[in-house]
C-alpha cells in the first residue's frame, strides 16, 4: 500500500499542470474572495429596511466556488492522464490488485486536495478579514473573524474537507469516464449545473429548496454558514457535507466497479 501510494504520489506531482492546478486552487480562491469582499459593504443590496446581517465567514470563503476548479482538475488528471498515454497498463501490470491502485490514487488525491484546501481557506479567510474590516464591517455584530470562534473554526475545517471531497469525487467520476474532457465536463456539470439551473429556470420555492439541499455543491458549502443557519443555508453544516460525501462515495464506488470490470 505504501509503495502504491508513493508511486501515485510521484506520478501525480510530476505530471505537467498538477502543481499549477494546485496553486490555481489557492490563487483563485483568494482572488475571488478578494473581489467579492471588496465589492461588499455592510448594507449593499439590503433594500430599504437595511435589515440584513451578512455572514462574514461565508463572504470570506466565497472564493471556494471558483478555487475548487483547481482541485477538480487534479482529480480528473490523476485518472485521465494514465488512460491517455496507456500508462494505466503498466500501472496495472506492476500492481495487479486494482482496488489497491484506486485506493492509493484516492489517498494521494485527497491528501493533495486537502492540503491545497487548507492553504486556500487560510489565505481566503485572512484576505476576507482584512478587506471586510476596511469596508466598514466593524460595528457590533461583526466581530473580527477568529479561529477561537467555534462556528468560524467549524466553517474553516469543513471547507478544507470540502476541497478534499471534491478532489476525490473528480477522481472517481473520471475513473468511470476515462477521458479528461468528459471527466472535467461531468464533474463541473454535477457541481455547477444545479446552481445554474436554479438561477436560470424559475422553480417553485419548494423545488429550489430541494435542489439546494440535495445537490453536492450547495449542500456541501452549507458548512461555511455561521449566522442565521436556518435561513441562509439550505441544510445543516455537517449534514450538507454528508450529502457531498455521499455523492463522492457513489462516484468512487462506480470508478472502482468500472476499473474492476472493464478492460484498461
Amino acid at each position: 500500500m505504501i509503495r502504491a501510494a508513493r508511486a501515485e504520489w510521484t506520478k501525480l506531482l510530476t505530471m505537467p499542470g498538477v502543481v499549477w492546478s494546485l496553486l490555481g486552487a489557492v490563487g483563485l480562491t483568494v482572488g475571488l474572495t478578494a473581489l467579492v469582499t471588496a465589492a461588499t459593504g455592510p448594507l449593499s443590496g439590503c433594500g430599504a429596511d437595511n435589515n440584513c446581517t451578512k455572514d462574514t465567514t461565508v463572504l470570506s470563503l466565497s472564493g471556494v466556488v471558483l478555487g475548487q476548479l483547481g482541485v477538480i482538475l487534479v482529480g480528473v488528471l490523476a485518472a485521465s492522464a494514465e488512460y491517455e498515454t496507456m500508462l494505466i497498463r503498466s500501472t496495472l501490470a506492476a500492481q495487479p490488485r486494482r482496488g489497491l491502485v484506486l485506493l492509493a490514487k484516492a489517498v494521494v488525491v485527497t491528501a493533495v486536495a486537502t492540503a491545497a484546501g487548507l492553504l486556500a481557506v487560510v489565505g481566503s479567510l485572512l484576505t476576507g478579514r482584512e478587506i471586510l474590516a476596511g469596508n466598514g464591517f466593524t460595528a457590533a455584530g461583526y466581530p473580527t473573524l477568529s479561529p477561537a470562534d467555534e462556528q468560524t473554526l467549524r466553517a474553516a475545517t469543513g471547507t478544507v474537507l470540502y476541497f478534499g471531497l471534491v478532489g476525490l469525487l473528480s477522481l472517481g467520476l473520471t475513473m468511470v469516464l476515462r477521458h479528461a474532457a468528459a471527466g472535467v465536463s461531468a464533474v463541473m456539470a454535477v457541481l455547477y449545473l444545479p446552481t445554474v439551473l436554479v438561477l436560470i429556470v424559475p422553480m417553485s420555492p419548494h423545488l429550489v429548496d430541494l435542489v439546494r439541499k440535495f445537490s453536492p455543491m450547495s449542500a456541501g458549502l452549507a458548512v461555511r454558514a455561521t449566522v442565521r443557519l436556518a435561513d441562509s443555508a439550505p441544510i445543516g453544516p455537517w449534514a450538507g457535507l454528508g450529502v457531498l460525501a455521499a455523492y463522492t462515495a457513489g462516484c468512487v464506488f462506480c470508478g472502482y466497479a468500472v476499473l474492476r470490470l472493464r478492460d484498461a
Binding site: A39, G47, L69, L73, Y192, L197, L199, I200, V201
Partner: protein, 484 residues
Amino acid sequence: MVPRDGFAMALRGEWTKLTTVRSTVWTLTATVGLTILICLLSASGSNTFVNDGPHSIDQFHFVHQPLTGDGSVVAQVSSQQDSNEWAKAGIMVKESLVSGSPAAVLMLTPRHGVRLQGNLTTEVQGSSSAAPRWLKLTRSGDRIAGYESGDGTSWEEIGTVDMRDLPRTAQAGLFVSSPDRQSLTQVGPGSIEVGTVPTPGRGTFAHVSIGGQPATDWSSQDVAPIRSEDTKGGGPIGGLHPSQGEGSASEAGGVFTVTGVGDIGQVGVSGVKLEGDSDLVRNSLAGIQIGLIAVVALSVLFITSEFSTGVIRTTFAVSPLRGRALAAKAVVLAGTVFVVGFVASLAGLFLSQPLWRSGGFAPPAYPHPSLADGPVLRAVVGSALFLTLIALFSLGVGALLRRTAGAIVLIVALVVVLHIVTGVLSVEASTWVNRVGPVAGLAIQQTVEMPDTAIGPWAGLGVLAAYAAVTLGAAFWMLRKRDA
C-alpha cells in the same frame, strides 16, 4: 476550380476534420438541444399578472378650487424638476376629487413638451417647450380648450377636449405627478427583486388665476386610486401599481410649490406604459447560457485533440504556415458555430413563446417578439455572434494551453462560474463581472433597459470580442514560437 494549395485548401482540410469527428455532431446537437430545453424550461416555470392589472392610472397632487360655469384657469409653470422624463406639472379641470373622474388636463413634461389630455384617453400634442411656460384651459359649455404661451399675452391654441359629462361646478387648479422609478433589491441568494420607488416631482407655479380672478382660498390633496386589499403585498410588480406617496403644496407671495407622485393617462397616452418587470426576449434566450458549454467543449477539442493525438504535426507539415492553419480553423469553427447558434437562438426564442404567453407574458405589457423589431433581431443574431466569439475565445485558449481539461476548466470558470458565483453573492460584484468578464457579451440579448443592466448590448459584445482577439493573437504568436 478549387486551388490546390493555399488558404482554400487549409479551409477544406479543417472542414473535413471538423465534420468527420464524432464529437462535433454530439456537441453541436447538444448546443441546440440544451439551448431549446433550457428555453422551454424557463418559459414553462414563469408567470406574470401584469396584464391583469388596471390599464389606466390617475394619481397626482391637486391644488384646487371650484370653477362654476364657463371660465379659465391660467398659470405659468415657472420651473419643473426633471424627476422623470414623464413627470407632469400643469393645470386641470376635473369633475371631482375622485381618481378616474373625467378631466381636461394641460401638462408640461421635462422632455416631451406640452400635452393636452382628455379623460385619460385622448391626447393632443402642443409645442416641445419645457418650463417656464404659460398654460391656459378655457371652459365654454361642453368644450374645454387648451392654450400655451411663452409670455402670457400671445396664446397659441393646442386643441379642445369634449367634456360633455362635466357638471356645472367642477374642480380646477394645479397638479404635479411623477411616475415611479424601478429599483433593484437583492432579496436572497441569487434572487433580485424589481420594485418601484416613488420619485416625487416638483413644480412651481406663478401668475395663477381662476375665472379671471387671482387665486385665493385653495385647498390641496392627493388624488389616488383606492387600493383594494387583494393587490397589497402579493400584487404584481411592474404594471400600473404606483407607490403611495404624499404630495405637498405651499404658497408664498403668489408662487405655488407643489410636489406629487403618480401618473395620469391610460396605457399608451402621455407616456403611460404598462411595463413588464422583465425583458421577455432576453429571458426567452436564457438557454444560450447553457448551450455555450457544448460550444466550449467543441472549440477546445477542435484544437487540443490535434495536440493530444499528434495530428497537429501532420497539419503543420501540410500547411507549414502555422498562422494560416490556425486562421483556417478559426474561420471554419466560427462559420459552423454561427449557423448552429442562429438556429438554436431562433428555435429557443420562438418555440418557447406559446409557453411564455400562457404564463401571462402577452401584449400589451409584453408585445410578441418579432424579427422585424430591431432589438429583437439584434438579440437573436447577437446570441449567435456571442456563441461564435465564445468559440473563438475557446479555440485561442485551447491553442495556448494545448490541454483539453485545463482549457475547458479555465473557460467555464471565466464564463460560467464567475457569473453564477457573483450572481449569488452580491449585486455589486455581479455588475462588475457582467461589465468586464466574457459574459459581458450576453448583454447583446437585452431588448429593454432594466435596472440591472450592466453594459450596453454592443459594448458588451465588444468586451467578449476583445477576449477572443487577445487569446487568438497570443495563440498565433505562441504557435510560431513553440514546437508542436
